[in-house]
């Protein structure tokens, strides 16, 4: 009787160990999957981080270019006495101003998303903006 019970107990114990082992194996697989997923998440985060760094740099470059155009205008205004021009030759001054204003208006169009065209390369009112936006429009040759 005692031997039979002992054997039954032993059998039950081994059976339970096997069941535990199966669960542990399943757990192992789950953990390994979780580790792989975590690894993928980390890689995605790394890519996102790189994108953010590049986007920040790109944005800073574009803003610097826009500021450079503004500084150029400030310099021009400081350099020339348009009041004196207007006194000496109002027709010629109006012509110069109208050409510049047409270019400035075109700059606004480009800034708001209008694609850069060949004629814009002659625009002296926003050289940096045209350069920046012009790069985007260039199609790679091979």
């Amino acid at each position: 009787m005692l031997v039979a019970l002992g054997a039954a107990g032993g059998f039950a114990y081994v059976y339970k160990l096997k069941a535990d082992n199966a669960i542990l194996k399943a757990n192992q697989v789950q953990l390994e999957t979780a580790i792989t997923e975590q690894q993928e998440v980390l890689e995605t985060k790394e890519l996102e981080f790189q994108f953010i760094i590049e986007a920040n740099k790109d944005l800073t470059d574009k803003l610097n270019a826009a500021r450079k155009d503004n500084e150029e205008l400030t310099k021009k205004f400081a350099q020339y006495d348009i009041a004196e021009w207007g006194m000496q030759n109002p027709e010629r001054t109006a012509e110069t101003i109208n050409n510049a204003v047409a270019d400035v208006n075109r700059c606004m169009e480009i800034a708001s998303g209008s694609p850069v065209v060949e004629a814009d390369k002659e625009n002296k009112q926003c050289r940096e903006l045209v350069k920046q936006k012009g790069k985007k429009n260039e199609t790679p040759t091979d």
Binding site: L59, F77, E91, I97, V101, M108, I110, C126
Partner: protein, 115 residues
């Protein structure tokens, strides 16, 4: 003999209480639906004609306006006012560029197909 038997049976049954539990993981990843708003159309500027008048040519300019059927009135700026207007315009342009680029970058980041 009986207590020994009971002890063995108890020990066997109790091992069942210290069993290993299966891990369950729950995944919740629901992405937001992309907004996909259309970018506004680029500006199309209206032509603006500036007229420069001084103390010597104002009569001629007003006569020309009248001759062309326009009312002899001009909305004037001094050279300083003109410079200020020019700088305001340039600042606006810088602001438009910044906003435009920020929107594009956000769109690329949150609504990119690569995502």
């Amino acid at each position: 003999m009986k207590p020994l038997l009971i002890s063995i049976l108890l020990a066997i049954f109790l091992t069942g209480c210290a069993g290993v539990k299966k891990i369950e993981t729950v995944k919740v990843a629901v992405a937001k639906t992309p907004l996909n708003l259309e970018m506004p159309e680029p500006l199309e500027s209206n032509e603006v004609i500036w007229i420069v008048i001084n103390k010597d040519n104002y009569k001629e300019v007003f006569d020309e306006l009248t001759a062309n059927g326009k009312k002899p009135v001009l909305f004037a700026l001094t050279d300083e006012g003109y410079k200020a207007l020019g700088m305001n315009y340039a600042d606006l342009r810088e602001h438009i560029i910044a906003q435009h680029e920020i929107i594009i970058t956000y769109k690329d980041y949150y609504e990119s197909e690569k995502e």
